[in-house]
Symmetry: none
Subunit: 212 residues, 4 copies
């Protein structure tokens, strides 16, 4: 178990001055912190979310937070990713053979998700924090954004193989054409997120993807 030298951090190289010993970590505190941060971000928003409040709500010393996370964004990212189970992404997009219908359905579901306050508050908080901070952005992308986009990639690739999408189309770019407008409307509030919008978006995007 404790094969990796704890504390000495010789193997992986201590990032900071002294690395805490993860094998001794209190799972109880970890959960309390993550839960408290999710609750609080919903109650007061990200900007007014404070480490002190999280610690107090979680019944935890501040140091226990600082020991394991570098910032409140990091706490929230972990809190959120443990809620958004990977199952969601692994399920993927249904493949009924009808690309248009499948995409519309999933995007409608995504609209509903992004309209749900319980999901939106922490997700927006993380998106904002990532937009502001390049380092954090990397983790946000890797853990939340990329898996979400990958789901679309798979479905589009499948459609391309089925000849429903022109062979010369860059699937990555196609995904961006679907999700970019969606994200922009949501994050920058350039328009309302509705089923009509995503339906029209799918229609217009698929026009460009169809084989000629």
């Amino acid at each position: 178990m404790s094969s990796a030298a704890p504390g000495s951090s010789s193997a992986s190289g201590g990032r900071r001055f002294r690395t805490p010993d993860a094998s001794r970590r209190s799972e109880r505190s970890r959960r309390a912190i993550l839960d408290a941060s999710m609750e609080l971000v919903g109650e007061v928003g990200y900007n007014r979310l404070t480490i002190e409040a999280v610690a107090a709500r979680a019944g935890v010393g501040k140091q226990t937070i600082y020991r394991w996370w570098p910032s409140k964004a990091a706490v929230l990212l972990e809190a959120f990713t443990t809620v958004v189970t990977d199952d969601e992404y692994e399920a993927g997009i249904p493949d009924t053979g009808d690309l248009e219908a499948d995409l519309k359905q999933v995007l409608r579901a995504t609209v509903d998700e992004f309209t749900d306050a319980a999901f939106e508050a922490p997700y927006r908080a993380l998106a904002v924090a990532g937009a502001a901070d390049a380092e954090l952005s990397e983790q946000f992308l890797e853990r939340l954004m990329a898996p979400g986009m990958e789901v679309y990639s798979r479905r589009l690739r499948s459609a391309q193989e089925a000849g429903q999408i022109a062979e010369d189309v860059d699937i990555g770019l196609a995904v961006e054409m679907l999700l970019g407008p969606f994200q922009q409307r949501w994050l920058q509030r350039t328009g309302n997120l509705t089923h009509e919008f995503t339906d029209a978006l799918v229609d217009l995007a698929l026009r460009g993807l169809a084989p000629r």
Copy 2:
């Protein structure tokens, strides 16, 4: 608009308790504050930009800032909009008749702009602040984002009239298909902002817009 007399807005209902008299405002201080905030946002970023530092750099009392702006974001928004002259937007996109070439050229220029640190720092700061705060978002959209999108709308409308874009295409949606992916890459760092990217984006988008 605010041409009217001292404390004009007081008559029609002052926002706060006492509206300051705009006619007595020190233009010298106003400029110093705007300049200082632009300098500082470039030096330390938005999150570490403080009103105190702006006041100190500008050689101004803090109250002079609080008197005229409700938040640091508002200061920065004004600072930025006075730099990005409206000329830029009024010029619009060249209309050589070659839609593809025109769009590629302008998007390449936009890429260059968003890659320039002097432009990027404050613009990102505002985009982030807008993403976090709905109220601010409104102003950011109205003053910076919308004019930028409108430029594309005009060019696409012109193309539609020229029969280069199918009649049933929603121009607003078309603009989102062009700029959404761009904004997503930039704001959320989902990919590099390059000329190749925008070229490919134009190609793929135009496929869907062309009359069938």
Copy 3:
């Protein structure tokens, strides 16, 4: 009035990085802080006296304390010295001509004072802090201890002039012989502070001081 340049501290030379402007100081806050610190030192003792508690009790921001005092000991010293008015020292020791009676009377009064909890708590706190810290000690001595000792010096000098004390006696040393044992009993708790003790002390000391 405000002849001394505030803030710039050019004249007296700024001790720290930026000297606050004393002319703008809030007397209200100052008094509240001094009062609160006196109250609290009586309630919880010096070691458990915290700046936070003083600030809270005084209804004052912590920074207002840190702005004007370098340490909690400094606060307490000022609090105490403004309570122990200088009148006390200026009155001096009565001079009835009967040296023994005069000394006994004053030392008895001093015993009573040092036995009174309201006086003892802060005074001991300061004596302890001074014993631990040479820099603070200097101020403690100068402001509290020395004036107290000077009072005895004056009375003894008067007695020496009256021929009741041998001419070759060093008055300073004589004062130390009277107060040293007193202070030791009190500060180090080597014995009880009683009237009998001080009476006996005066008797024995005067034996050595009398002209031969």
Copy 4:
């Protein structure tokens, strides 16, 4: 329950909830802790001496300190008393028959001791801690102060028996007249500790002690 042998002090009533078994105690750790505390008190002083630093320097867990000592003062007291061997006190003051010379000599030696930093730092630390805390004071007195004073008592008693000191003199008080001024100068820094001072002190004190 823990009435039996283990934990010698447990016999007379375990102070805490569970008395550890002293027979299993690591002498190695004990010494390391005492040494480290002596070193550190010399380096940083008593106020900035922390249990954590002692534990770290001694290569010992914090709990090992808390298990055996109730406070950092107690650690230091033990550390100091094991250094200041009892021999010193048992030797006592030489009795050449010349009281004045004997006292002067010993007080000069004491001055030298209290002027030596290696001795002064921990001793002052303990004196200060004792002055602040009555409970600790008791132990400090009993173990360090009282033996030191007793030495003087013996010599003065011997002189009294030899008729060099008046019969009606309270020897305890006489000792206080010698050491009180000394302690005051040292602990409260009311003056310099020099040989001249102690010589003069002895001269003046003996005047009062001599038979009439």
